[in-house]
């Protein structure tokens, strides 16, 4: 396996949108050992929302959020050989089609980048203190957590990556 630099980890919680191209450049910055960058962008979708939902509002726990996200990213960097992890999570009021979350993982190896990104998203869904509220003309209601998100996070206790050590991406 390659000698790895310490993974560069960045976590931001903000109301503003994010610039994917900028985040990609930051992740790739002067690191010619990176062969693969996998990005995940989560969007507010309206399929699951009732027809009357006009906006989503995200609340979080300042302080714990950044700590929890940083820890999840570090855990990923222990499990997979990563060069960079960038997480941007939005809070405040969002509308259908708006991006909520960006997770960007850079590695020499494509399978490591894919797996680490999915791992981070699964843990983010269950361990990062964000709460969604739906706004309707009749007022707001809180979104319930999904059991499937918890089972998705659970499966990482069992997963062993068999590929990343020898499937480089040039």
């Amino acid at each position: 396996m390659d000698t790895l630099p310490q993974a560069r980890i960045t976590v931001v919680v903000q109301e503003a949108g994010f610039d994917l191209a900028h985040e990609m450049r930051e992740a790739g910055q002067d690191d010619r050992g990176i062969g693969a960058i996998v990005s995940f962008v989560g969007l507010v979708r309206d399929l699951n929302l009732a027809a009357d939902v006009v906006a989503l509002e995200l609340e979080h726990y300042p302080g714990m959020t950044e700590k929890a996200l940083g820890r999840i990213a570090e855990e990923a960097a222990v499990r997979w050989p990563l060069h960079a992890v960038r997480i941007v999570h939005r809070v405040g009021k969002l509308h259908p089609g708006d991006p909520i979350v960006l997770v960007l993982v850079a590695s020499a190896h494509r399978h490591a980048a894919f797996e680490a990104n999915a791992f981070i998203m699964d843990y983010l869904k269950t361990r990062a203190p964000f709460w969604k509220k739906e706004w309707t003309p009749d007022g707001p209601r809180w979104v319930d957590a999904r059991e499937s998100d918890y089972s998705a996070a659970e499966r990482w206790h069992k997963v062993v990556s068999e590929q990343y050590g020898n499937t480089d991406h040039d």
Binding site: G42, L58, E59, H60, Y61, G63, M64, K67, A68, H89, I100, V101, M121, L124, K125, T126, R127, A128, P129, F130, W131, K132, K133, W142, V143, D144, A145, R146
Partner: protein, 85 residues
């Protein structure tokens, strides 16, 4: 023992409270003990914390289970299961 309590999302609204300083009574040493103490306030407190509803507790900004020990100056947050991402 004095702790700082935080409530988020639906629980914050139900309790009508985002934050409170609390002097924990003698004998209350774990999260479970604290929850029983808060539930004894009745109404929304009893319904949410002792009514079989699902919630999470963070101690000093780390998720913990209810057997975790409190300490002087602890930051304890109680909130619904998270729904981020």
């Amino acid at each position: 023992m004095d702790i700082n309590l935080l409530y988020f999302a639906r629980l914050r609204e139900r309790f009508g409270l985002a934050q409170e300083q609390l002097t924990v009574p003698e004998g209350v040493v774990t999260v479970a003990g604290l929850l029983a103490h808060l539930a004894a306030r009745g109404d929304a407190w009893a319904e949410e914390l002792a009514g079989g509803k699902v919630f999470r507790v963070a101690l000093d900004q780390e998720l913990v289970d209810f057997s975790a020990s409190l300490h002087q100056g602890a930051e304890v947050a109680i909130f619904p299961p998270v729904t981020g991402g």
